[in-house]
Amino acid sequence: MEAIQVHQGKAIAMDRSNIDTDQIIPKQFLKRIERTGFGQFLFYHWRFDDDGKERPEFELNKQENKGASILLAGENFGCGSSREHAPWALLDYGFRVIIAPSFADIFYNNALKNGIVPIKMDETVIKKWMAVAEQGKLELVVDLPEQEITVIGGEKIHFDIPAYHKEKLINGWDDIALTLQLEDDIAAYEAAK
């Protein structure tokens, strides 16, 4: 996992609640056995019509939103299927930070495992930012060590993230390697069972 400390990027607004992982990456793309290359299929049916042509009205396709790396979304982002292909697709497309009022539990974990920072933020703040982002004018600096988001040319806001998640993201640590250091504990548990 790639470490992430301070990230600056353009933010894009998707003002919808309950964006489920079936929309983020539809099932026909889950047959691949690789971890990479899913970005081209991100939000596939929202992004492309039945002939594979871009739908001009969809947020990701608007010229002013190209190159965005921060996603602002509605509540319960990432609900539904546990498919980790969802964060793989978001990351591969170029998203490193997702800001929403709430996240589904499994998606939240899956994002963290892949170096995407899921940030829970008050809905009123998000709505305000969305209005700016919709004009393609929202640039944010996300400072993970300081737990602060700075709007370029505007306010600075604090965000919460559990300390152990933050530590892993900042260092890009591999969970399994860390756990394997606890081999003695695991073996002892198994022996006592």
């Binding site: 003002d15 919808r16 609640s17 309950n18 489920d20 079936d22 929309q23 539809p26 099932k27 026909q28 889950l30 047959k31 691949r32 056995i33 690789e34 971890r35 049916h45 039945d50 509605g74 509540e75 319960n76 609900c79 539904g80 299927s81 546990s82 498919r83 980790e84 964060p87 709430s102 589904a104 539990d105 499994i106 974990n109 899956n110 495992k113 892949n114 559990p162 300390a163 152990y164 969970d175 399994i176 756990t179 394997l180 606890l182 504990d185 695991i186 548990y189 198994e190």
Partner: protein
């Protein structure tokens, strides 16, 4: 006296391998179920790092998501085939038991776990699949995980887990005649919303829950994730013990009696406290039909789609109705369907098929409707055929298939075409779930069966007595 505990606390405490302040707990995993779609990248990760599977004996694999449900000898989709073959190779290389496509234990992972007695009270169970919550019906702590976590469990047999909050979903009273476990869980989700369980493990309690069969309990726990809860469970009781007795992977004879005693002791203690409690009255639940694009968007059969202006999120509602090609205030019984799917880990067990078949016996599927029945496992299929259930369905014009996930997510050839409208016994009505542009209405098996005959939704509570209501349309 010891403090009263919930079953969730009891299971949790028994599984902590390592605990540090301000960190999640490291939990031991007793059973890891694996399927073809969410595992290849995990095995690849093990290989890249020269790691092995720590406990192949606690790991069990099957193919379900991708498998064809007919003409199994030829898999036309090369990518699907590759994925299934990858699982075979991975299981062979890492020493994991696999119920492959032609194996008598093959089936949807959440159907075969309980069927084989792998699922037992008190276990921690994970699978790279969000409907792992199904196994909670047995009083197990069972939840879905992502592929990185699958890899973590394969390598370490443990998971880092934050202790969840506890939520008591209390179901008082009794379900009325003709009202099913599916209607109950849909009503719960539409009453409290698709995220009321986020951050919680739910325990379903109350009189109505106690009187459910194990298969009905599985239907309820299955959809916990649609309420946002990674896990939902029910304290074990005599119904649980009776179901498990004699199954392949449970202890036998005296050892079973001993196990049963320890299982029953797991039940939530009288007076145990939960972080939150919600209550619903089973008597008020009517047969449900989902009308929108998430499982919280449901109405009773005699109700209508909602009024847009009444909603807190009118844009979301408008988008859902537009996708579903429905009007606001549209009566549910006026919605015509052209596809029917009876199957999925929610409703593909023997009792589901038995009940649905009773609705269609001696009747014919409405012209223009394509109806398929996909048993949840090879075992369910065999038993149903022994009972002649397949014949009832086939005589009525249903297709009778091999076991798998099938039209629940339409990864194989079982797809609802664009613009098609399906009465489905599955658990998700998300946009495109059953096929690009397809519209899904979630219902119970009985409601799906009746809709197949009539070509639109009808109230099963009064339906059995009627020959046909289609004259009115």
């Amino acid at each position: 006296m010891e403090k009263a505990k919930t079953i969730i606390d009891k299971i949790w405490e028994k599984h902590v391998v390592h605990r540090e302040e301000n960190k999640p707990d490291l939990l031991y995993i007793d059973l890891h179920l694996v399927h073809e779609v969410t595992s290849p990248q995990a095995f690849e990760g093990l290989r890249l790092n020269n790691r092995k599977v720590r406990r192949p004996d606690l790991t069990f694999a099957t193919v379900d998501h991708n498998v064809p449900t007919k003409n199994r000898d030829v898999i036309k989709d090369a990518v699907s085939k590759k994925q299934m073959e990858a699982l075979k190779t991975n299981c062979r290389d890492f020493g994991i038991t696999l119920a492959d496509m032609f194996h008598p234990n093959q089936g949807i992972v959440h159907v075969i776990g309980p069927e084989l007695g792998l699922t037992q009270p008190g276990k921690t169970i994970v699978c790279g699949d969000s409907h792992t919550s199904t196994h909670g019906a047995f009083g197990a702590l069972a939840f879905g995980i992502g592929t990185s976590e699958v890899e973590h469990v394969l390598a370490t047999q443990t998971l880092w887990q934050e202790r969840p909050k506890t939520l008591n979903v209390k179901v008082e009273g009794d379900l009325g005649p003709g009202v099913t476990a599916k209607d109950l869980i849909l009503a719960i989700i539409s009453k409290f919303g698709v995220k009321f369980g986020t951050g919680y493990v739910m325990e379903y309690t109350g009189k109505a829950i106690r009187s459910l069969t194990m298969e009905e309990r599985m239907t309820v726990c299955n959809m916990s994730i649609e309420a946002g809860a990674r896990a939902g469970l029910i304290s074990p009781d005599q119904t649980t013990v009776d179901y498990l007795k004699g199954r392949a992977n449970v202890p036998q004879a005296d050892a079973f009696e001993k196990a049963a005693k320890s299982w029953l002791a797991l039940a939530t203690d009288e007076g145990a406290a939960y972080d939150k409690t919600v209550t619903i009255h089973a008597d008020e639940v009517e047969p449900q039909v989902s009308w929108g694009t998430n499982p919280g968007m449901c109405a009773p059969i005699n109700g209508s789609t909602p009024t847009i202006a009444d909603s807190d999120h009118p844009e979301d509602l408008q988008r859902a109705l537009a996708y579903m090609d429905l009007q606001e205030n549209q009566p549910i019984t006026s919605i015509p369907i052209d596809h029917v799917f009876i199957g999925s880990c929610t409703n593909s067990r023997l009792s589901d098929l038995r009940k649905a078949s009773q609705i269609v016996v001696g009747k014919k599927v409405k012209e223009g409707v394509r109806a398929i029945v996909v048993p949840g496992s090879f075992g369910v299929k065999m038993q149903a055929e022994k009972e002649g259930i397949d014949t009832i369905f086939k005589d009525a014009g249903f297709e009778w298939r091999e076991a798998g996930c099938s039209m629940c997510l339409a990864m194989n050839d079982d797809v609802v075409p664009p613009g098609g409208r399906c009465a489905s016994t599955s658990n998700r009505n998300f946009e495109g779930r059953q096929g690009n542009g397809a519209r899904t209405h979630l219902v119970s098996p009985e409601m799906a069966a009746a809709a197949a005959i009539e070509g639109h939704f009808v109230d099963v509570r009064t339906y059995a007595n009627h020959q046909s209501t289609s004259a009115a349309f």
